[in-house]
């Protein structure tokens, strides 16, 4: 009975165009953000911050990036990790080679480099579709990682190709504790999520979805598929690039090609499919699922006092089974499940 939109009228298109038209949703979001920014850093343990929340937010950002490309523009990609790697390495190089460059600018520039690479590898999408495109994007993955291992200039000439990320310092303020890193990541992610949300509900987003749903019809309406798809690749790669930089700087602390393996690309794809393809919220839910579930399973499995290898394998099986289970319950992902839940809540206590 509490979740009702009755009595809330939107009299202008402006009001209807709001991010969250229902008041309860707005309140909930603001409250969540407030808690996340103010309470969490004070209350959460360093473990929770640095090992769970930071990677969760970073992966959510990457998933958001992929969701823009795959979920909104309909281009299936398996090259996410490569774009993240470009972002990370580029940021590292900017910081290392341009003394005194502001860190955030380096991240943005890293993202832009990723966007350029994204555009280059997005070109084939004009002709190639679906799983063919997905498999072809693996070329990005392998090629970029290969370049990063081969071209030692990119890794600052380090013999092993593994470099440690510089300390994050913004305007003389060092982000070195888990709390600070968390706040930084949270702000970046929240801001970028907001921008993404704006983008997908505006003309650009509609063009993406149009191309996704029926590219020929979109063309007939006057949407240029090439420009639209490439823009999607660019924006998506930018997001992934920034996420990659954060992954290196705020989480791992190292910049190395192996951290951006194919495995990571897949992981992020899982996130958006589980979370909900074509949903900003879904990116977060999916990231939570993929980041948190293995941790819980790991803790649970080891709590069972089973032999460790049995526990580890069971964990893998349960993870796989849960993915299937959720897909069967709701093929459109957790975001849809959430939405249906809300709709039910709206009707509650009446059945229909």
């Amino acid at each position: 009975m509490f979740y009702r939109e009755a009595g809330q009228f939107r009299t202008t298109y402006e009001a209807d165009g709001q991010l969250l038209p229902i008041r309860q949703d707005r309140i909930a979001l603001i409250a969540t953000l407030a808690v996340a920014v103010l309470a969490v850093p004070l209350l959460a343990s360093p473990y929770l911050l640095s090992a769970i929340l930071i990677p969760f937010l970073i992966f959510a950002l990457a998933a958001l990036g992929l969701n823009i490309l795959t979920g909104y523009a309909g281009q299936l990609s398996l090259g996410t990790a490569a774009f993240m790697a470009v972002g990370a390495f580029a940021s590292w190089n900017f910081v290392a080679r341009i003394p005194g460059i502001p860190m955030l600018l380096a991240f943005v520039l890293g993202g832009l480099c990723a966007a350029l690479v994204g555009i280059a590898f997005g070109l084939p999408s004009l002709r190639i579709r679906g799983f063919y495109l997905a498999a072809a994007t693996l070329a990005t993955q392998f090629f970029v990682i290969w370049c990063l291992t081969k071209i030692s200039w990119l890794t600052g000439g380090s013999a092993s190709g593994v470099i440690t990320a510089q300390r994050i310092e913004i305007m003389g303020y060092a982000f070195d504790t888990p709390q600070r890193k968390y706040v930084l990541v949270l702000l970046v992610v929240a801001l970028m999520a907001l921008l993404a949300k704006n983008l997908v509900r505006s003309n650009v987003g509609r063009s993406w979805m149009a191309v996704r749903d029926m590219d020929m019809a979109a063309e007939v309406i006057g949407i240029r598929p090439m420009r639209t798809k490439l823009l999607a690749f660019a924006v998506s790669s930018f997001y992934c690039g920034v996420a990659g930089a954060l992954y290196a700087f705020a989480y791992l602390g190292t910049v190395e090609p192996e951290a951006y393996s194919l495995d990571l690309s897949f992981r992020i794809l899982f996130m958006i499919i589980i979370g909900g393809v074509g949903s900003i919220l879904g990116s977060f839910l999916g990231a939570a699922f993929i980041v948190l579930l293995p941790v819980f399973l790991n803790i649970a499995a080891h709590g069972l006092a089973l032999p460790t290898s049995v526990a580890s394998n069971l964990e893998l099986m349960v993870f796989g089974a849960l993915i299937i289970f959720f897909l069967i319950v709701e093929p459109h992902g957790l975001a849809r499940l959430w939405q249906i839940g809300k709709e039910k809540l709206r009707l509650w206590p009446f059945p229909h």
Binding site: L76, P124, R127, I128, R129, G130, F131, Y132, A134, A135, A136, L138, A139, F142, F143, I145, W146, T149, K150, M214, D215, M216, A217, V220, L262, F266, F270, I273, I274, V277, S309, V310, N313, L314, E315, L316, M317, V318, F319, G320, A321, L322, I323, I324, L327, I328, P331, H332
Partner: protein, 300 residues
């Protein structure tokens, strides 16, 4: 350029390509007949091979007893997959089915190792993996006997499966299913039975691939990675064509080896990882549905 060496590389590449095709066929089978991009194919290969050696190890079976037992296991597995995973997901978007197979891959990897342990094993197929002496003597070219036999097995499999799809009633039904699950159901194609059969067959194909690859590389978790080798083969040959798998395999195998040997040294080597993908990608620019794939119908 040493022409002998060139041929050696070429033949080696072609034969490796056949091994890739072996894995690719499993993909094609399922994609062509249900529109599902089966990410779990690699896991199935691993599962099959590990089950086979696991039975030999744990129960002391001979190879010739373990193989039929594994065939049975794979058939049971295929039926179970249809029941538990696919049946509830009929008529869902491709990407959802794809994701479900990813879940399946995790499950199978865990299950295989839970049942049989994570140890690596040797798979003692009675085929020697040594250069064929006659060729070595006469032309100074190394060609492994094992590869030649693998190529023959693969050829036979391709022929049988290609025949199945072409013109038979079931083959036609399978292609119909891939186009439109719902319409296929509406005309009375027993989707569930067909899928169960299909996944069982794919399981057996995975076993063959698992046996041959397992004998070559040992039975270990890395068998799941060979699916990655099959992907460029698939996109080059076309997801929907059995002969495409083998032709794609030959092209990919030969060109990646030639590239590694002749281009690799110029750029620092190790290009085998991405070269096939880039090649396939360039090829797709010309033909977006691969060599023999069904043309993607785009119409409004």
């Amino acid at each position: 350029m040493d022409i002998n060496f060139f041929f050696e590389v070429l033949i080696g590449g072609l034969l490796s390509g056949v091994m890739y095709a072996l894995v690719a066929i499993g993909f094609v089978l399922i994609y062509k007949a249900s529109g599902v991009f089966n990410f779990a194919q690699g896991a199935m290969v691993f599962f099959a091979a590990l089950t086979c050696v696991g039975m030999m190890d744990k129960f002391g079976m001979s190879l010739w007893l373990a193989i039929p037992c594994t065939v049975v296991a794979m058939i049971v597995l295929g039926i179970a997959i249809e029941r538990v995973v696919l049946r509830p997901l009929v008529n869902q978007p491709e990407i959802t089915l794809f994701m479900a197979t990813i879940g399946l891959a995790f499950f199978l990897e865990g299950l295989a190792q839970l049942l049989w342990g994570s140890q690596v094993h040797q798979l003692p197929l009675p085929i020697e993996d040594v250069p064929m002496q006659s060729l070595l003597d006469r032309f100074n070219i190394v060609v492994s006997q094992f590869d030649v036999i693998a190529a023959i097995i693969c050829g036979v499999m391709v022929a049988v499966l290609a025949l199945l799809f072409a013109k038979t009633r079931v083959g036609r039904a399978l292609r119909a299913v891939a186009d439109d699950h719902q319409a296929a159901q509406a005309v009375g194609i027993p989707l569930q039975r067909i899928w169960a059969i299909l996944w069982a067959v794919a399981g057996v194909v995975a076993l063959v691939a698992g046996l041959l690859w397992g004998a070559r590389n040992g039975v270990q978790f890395a068998l799941t990675f060979i699916a990655l080798k099959a992907l460029p083969v698939l996109i080059l040959g076309g997801f929907t064509s059995v002969p495409g798998a083998i032709v794609g395999g030959l092209i990919i195998g030969a060109s990646e080896k030639l590239a590694e040997v002749y281009i690799g040294p110029l750029v620092g080597g190790g290009i085998e990882g991405w070269f096939p993908y880039v090649l396939a990608l360039l090829f797709l620019l010309v033909r977006p549905e691969g060599l023999f794939g069904e043309k993607i119908i785009r119409r409004i």
